[in-house]
């Protein structure tokens, strides 16, 4: 197993769900700070396993900067609350009026939730790299998955070739003075990109890409399309029913279930025709099972907390509610479980040196 291999991707999916649920469902700064810390520990443990992983560092820094900018924005525009820090002249547009502590707390906690979600996203992407994500794509949308995988792999390549082209033109004495001078930079870029695309297409065809999809008969195609149509229609009707006829909840629920079932069948039937062979099977080793179990436990505890006492998790500093957050130790335990992958991860062996020719 090479060092870029972390755990089973499905275990990471469970971890993603367990970490994202608190960040999405609460603004309580105590819970959010614990989630952020747990995810940061996992992110630190993942380290820099691949060259692509270091680009996520810039992403994390950008999200923290965004958070710091959003705090004064919320504090200056929301003038509600009783604990007034200072007052701006009321004649000033938008920012005029009392600047309250509650508004600042609200901005702080909202930004904290955002930063936590972005860090979860970054950690998940470092742990499960593009190749494994691509492999996890379900069969019925394998075309879209391939296109996305290629696009994601091509973007850094384009960035490096853009820099190389610019350097080469600068050596030739090329200066960008107007719009027409951009042409000698853009043309080689387009040509290189097209050449790479042609090369990739030829190599994929040589490997037999596209040959493993069993063509569907016209009857099967019509069935799939009808199932898709009726499934979407039932879903739409179900959602409309929940919104506009709340007394007919049972009917709306039945419509939603029927729609989901039809869609599910259509996707499964389409996926059945895509045969994929595996070179390297993913094995469920003991650490994978531990991580999956811990994540599921954390998920159930948090879902239970949400369903049983939702208002205990909620945080709203504006009056008449209190700006002091509350904390349940059981939910805190659930958040500590989010840090379990960090304890089981082996540190990457080639942490010190970075290989640039790895794509």
């Amino acid at each position: 197993m090479d060092t870029t291999d972390t755990f089973h991707p499905f275990a990471w999916l469970a971890w993603l769900a367990a970490a994202a649920l608190p960040a999405l469902s609460t603004r309580n700064p105590l819970y959010l700070s614990l989630t952020l810390l747990a995810v940061a520990v996992v992110y630190a443990a993942l380290g820099r396993r691949s060259p692509l992983a270091q680009s996520w560092g810039a992403f994390v820094r950008f999200s923290i900067m965004l958070w710091l900018l959003s705090i004064p924005f919320t504090a200056l525009t929301s003038h509600y609350g009783t604990i007034v820090l200072f007052r701006l002249p009321a004649t000033w547009p938008i920012i005029g009026g009392p600047i309250t502590l509650e508004a600042m707390l609200y901005g702080l906690t909202g930004g904290l939730a955002l930063v936590t979600l972005l860090l979860i996203f970054a950690a998940f992407n470092v742990a499960v790299d593009q190749a494994r994500l691509l492999r996890m794509t379900p069969g019925f949308i394998h075309g879209a998955g391939v296109v996305t995988g290629i696009a994601v792999a091509f973007v850094p390549q384009m960035v490096t070739s853009w820099q190389a082209i610019r350097e080469a033109q600068q050596v030739r004495g090329h200066k960008v003075r107007g719009v027409r001078d951009v042409l000698p930079l853009v043309m080689p870029l387009l040509v290189t990109a097209l050449e790479r695309a042609m090369q990739l297409a030829e190599s994929m065809e040589a490997r037999g890409f596209g040959g493993q999809v069993v063509p569907a008969s016209s009857r099967q195609r019509t069935l799939n399309q009808l199932a898709l149509l009726f499934g979407l229609g039932a879903l739409g009707a179900g959602f409309a029913g929940i919104g506009f006829w709340p007394e007919k909840r049972l009917l709306a629920g039945a419509l939603l279930a029927a729609g989901l079932a039809l869609l599910g069948w259509s996707f499964w039937d389409q996926g059945r025709r895509v045969h994929r062979s595996r070179y390297h099977r993913w094995v469920w080793a003991r650490p994978d099972r531990i991580i999956a179990a811990a994540s599921l436990l954390s998920l159930t505890i948090w879902m239970g907390g949400l369903l049983v006492r939702g208002e205990g998790i909620f945080y709203y500093p504006f009056p008449p509610y209190t700006p002091w957050p509350t904390f349940q130790p059981l939910l805190g335990m659930a958040l500590v479980l989010v840090a379990v992958p960090a304890l089981l991860l082996q540190p990457a062996k080639d942490e010190g040196r970075m290989t640039n020719d790895e794509t």
Binding site: L37, T322, F327
Partner: protein
């Protein structure tokens, strides 16, 4: 992170502090605006609010009247969810909890301009000036209409006489002169006969517990002074101004907010720090310490592996 990216938010905060330091606080007032609130059961409450600025927002008028208002500030501006406990218990319930489906009941905002005019602007954006009469009415409606409040004039809500209490010394919050009225609407065509008694209130410096900033308090201990001669219509005192929020000593955790009914008045929790929060905070610190320990262990192991290779 470059120093330049930190500079912008610091600059903004410094600018605000400088601006704020030079602005005097607005207190008491010689401008008056009337507030008419019509509840779901038809009962009406009016308030006369004093302010000294040239104009205040509709939201400020509501909050300065001393009533307990819950607002939802997510999305576009602020929406009034409940007034004096009647309405939707945000945030446990949706702010427009009675507005799911085809029937929609909510707090509609009206301005007095000859008759009641449905407000085209939200309460946070509308500027209330001296002599204005604002109305809030709970009823069924849609995005362009609601149930109108009863027809009252400004003179009935804010009587033009010197019973207005003197402005207190700074830094006291603004004083409101509440007037409690009820109207039993017998027929919708004619404006209902109302009688009222003015109550002059004195607001003292509310005992500030944990914070040193002044708060806008609700009126304390009203002293009654009947002024107008009562008419033959029977007087029903439907509503008294709610007590000061800090007087309700309920644990912050037991926010028992009512169910779906609009008549559910919820107990506002104390907004100050209470010792009951301490065990929770101790548990939080413990959990935090354990996570920090795990982080330190991970970092140590990483650097240890580096040294070995």
């Amino acid at each position: 992170m470059t120093r330049r990216t930190l500079l912008l938010p610091l600059l903004l905060t410094a600018l605000c502090l400088l601006a704020g330091a030079s602005v005097a606080r607005a207190q008491g007032g010689d401008h008056r605006a009337g507030l008419v609130i019509r509840y779901a059961d038809g009962s009406v409450q009016t308030q006369c609010v004093l302010f000294s600025e040239s104009s205040i927002t509709g939201t400020e008028l509501l909050t300065r009247s001393g009533l307990q208002v819950t607002m939802d500030y997510s999305g576009m501006g602020g929406a009034v969810c409940s007034i004096a406990g009647k309405g939707c218990a945000f945030p446990t319930q949706d702010c427009f909890c009675r507005c799911q489906g085809l029937a929609c009941e909510y707090w509609a905002y009206y301005h007095w301009a000859g008759g009641w005019q449905y407000s085209q602007v939200g309460a946070g954006g509308y500027k209330v000036t001296d002599g204005a009469l604002e109305g809030w009415s709970w009823g069924a409606g849609n995005f362009s209409s609601g149930v109108e409040p009863p027809l009252l004039t400004f003179a009935e809500v804010c009587p033009a006489l010197a019973t207005a209490t003197p402005a207190a010394t700074a830094p006291t919050p603004p004083i409101a002169t509440p007037t409690s009225i009820t109207a039993a609407p017998q027929d919708d065509a004619a404006p209902p006969k109302v009688t009222f008694e003015t109550q002059a209130t004195v607001s003292d410096n509310a005992s500030v517990q944990a914070s040193t900033q002044p708060r806008s308090t609700a009126p304390h201990a009203p002293t009654n002074r009947a002024l107008a001669t009562p008419t033959p219509t029977p007087i029903l005192i439907a509503y008294a101004p709610p007590a000061d929020a800090s007087g309700m000593r309920s644990d912050a955790r037991t926010q028992s907010l009512g169910g779906d009914s609009t008549a559910s008045a919820f107990e506002a929790p104390s907004r100050d720090f209470s010792l009951a929060l301490l065990p929770g905070y101790a548990a939080y610190l413990l959990t935090l310490a354990s996570l920090v320990g795990a982080g330190v262990w991970v970092v140590r192991r990483k650097s240890g592996a580096l040294r070995k290779s």
